[in-house]
């Protein structure tokens, strides 16, 4: 300690993702200027993000002006599918990165004509860990948990369940075939996050989509005041 007299400790206490947070805040301001609601949709691969998007577009097409931002590691399959619905869609290829980040979103927002929109839904990369921490400028964080993935996801990925505004339980048409204790799942999720909204849907049959879509309309309205 004595001979290395110049050595010192510099306190910082700065969030590691603060640079991303700053750009997310700018994105948020851009959206707020035109009264647009942006939703960050997160889930494991195959949980039903694209399916829920398609169902949501189908039910809200006449009520809201929507656009979709598709995050995908490499392909454009989901974006192509959405484009068939005649909805503006921007594809972000993350080039291998496992999450979207705020600078990517900023570029995507530049490609949309914002005054024409009420709601932007972002399909994040299929992953339950880092998308939670890389804010985009979203107003709402939504997670899809699908029945075949099992009811123990909240134990394994507490971070996402603590962070989201709503959990959409998808593929409830499979409940008769797969062990998934809905009541226990609900108790655990609300115990972790008492403000969370929980929806039970099947994108296959369309069951439960109406309450989810109504809620989204209501939330979008809050961004327009």
């Amino acid at each position: 300690m004595t001979q290395k007299s110049k050595q010192m400790q510099v306190p910082i206490v700065q969030d590691i993702l603060s640079a991303n947070d700053e750009i997310a805040l700018q994105n948020r301001e851009t959206l707020d200027r035109t009264g647009i609601c942006m939703v960050n949709l997160m889930a494991s691969p195959g949980a039903g993000k694209t399916s829920l998007l398609l169902r949501t577009i189908e039910s809200l097409r006449t009520k809201l002006r929507m656009a979709v931002i598709e995050g995908d590691i490499a392909s454009t399959v989901d974006a192509d599918r959405i484009a068939q619905e005649n909805i503006p869609v921007v594809q972000i290829n993350t080039g291998g990165q496992c999450h979207l980040d705020a600078p990517m979103l900023r570029r995507a927002l530049h490609q949309l004509h914002l005054p024409d929109l009420d709601l932007i839904i972002v399909e994040n990369v299929g992953n339950l860990i880092c998308p939670v921490d890389f804010h985009l400028g979203e107003h709402l964080n939504i997670m899809i948990a699908s029945v075949p993935e099992g009811d123990d996801k909240p134990y394994k990925y507490p971070g996402i369940f603590l962070a989201v505004d709503a959990v959409v339980i998808n593929k409830i048409d499979l409940l008769p075939y797969v062990h998934f204790d809905l009541a226990a799942f609900r108790t655990l999720v609300t115990g972790m996050n008492p403000d969370v909204h929980i929806f039970e849907v099947s994108c296959e049959t369309g069951v439960g989509i109406a309450p989810w879509a109504d809620w989204l309309v209501q939330q979008t309205g809050k961004c327009q005041d």
């Binding site: 290395k4 110049k6 050595q7 010192m8 400790q9 510099v10 306190p11 910082i12 206490v13 700065q14 969030d15 590691i16 993702l17 603060s18 640079a19 991303n20 291998g96 990165q97 496992c98 999450h99 980040d101 860990i129 880092c130 921490d133 890389f134 123990d152 909240p154 134990y155 990925y157 507490p158 971070g159 603590l162 108790t187 655990l188 609300t190 115990g191 972790m192 996050n193 008492p194």
Partner: protein
């Protein structure tokens, strides 16, 4: 893969603070990572060793302090350490609770010379 993006952020923040402190060399970076972030593993040292050569942070140690999760029961107010796969209050068995600690994800300090 997100460890790469995260390590880039860590390096950038650390270097800018080292510069402000007019340091010549960065010898260590002290990180605080909460158990509930499910984030960083040891591979960030690997990325760090890849990204830092040629900067004042070359050769620096990354020291990760992991913060265990603590909850407060919303029913009875008991404070308790989270046990994996068990989000129950040890006193009244209510499920869940308010997170008191375990979601940290920051650089606490750097050591420079």
């Amino acid at each position: 893969m997100h460890e790469l993006a995260i390590t880039q952020n860590i390096l950038k923040i650390a270097l800018s603070h080292a510069e402000q402190a007019q340091a010549i060399r960065l010898t260590a970076i002290n990180l605080v990572v909460g158990e509930l972030t499910g984030f960083v593993d040891e591979s960030i040292q690997f990325y760090f060793d890849m990204l830092s050569p040629g900067t004042p942070a070359q050769g620096a140690r990354l020291v990760i302090r992991r913060v265990p999760a603590r909850l407060r029961c919303r029913e009875c107010g008991e404070e308790f350490a989270l046990r994996p796969l068990d989000w129950k209050c040890p006193r009244c068995s209510a499920v869940g609770g308010t997170v008191l600690q375990g979601r940290e994800f920051c650089i606490e300090s750097i050591e420079v010379e």
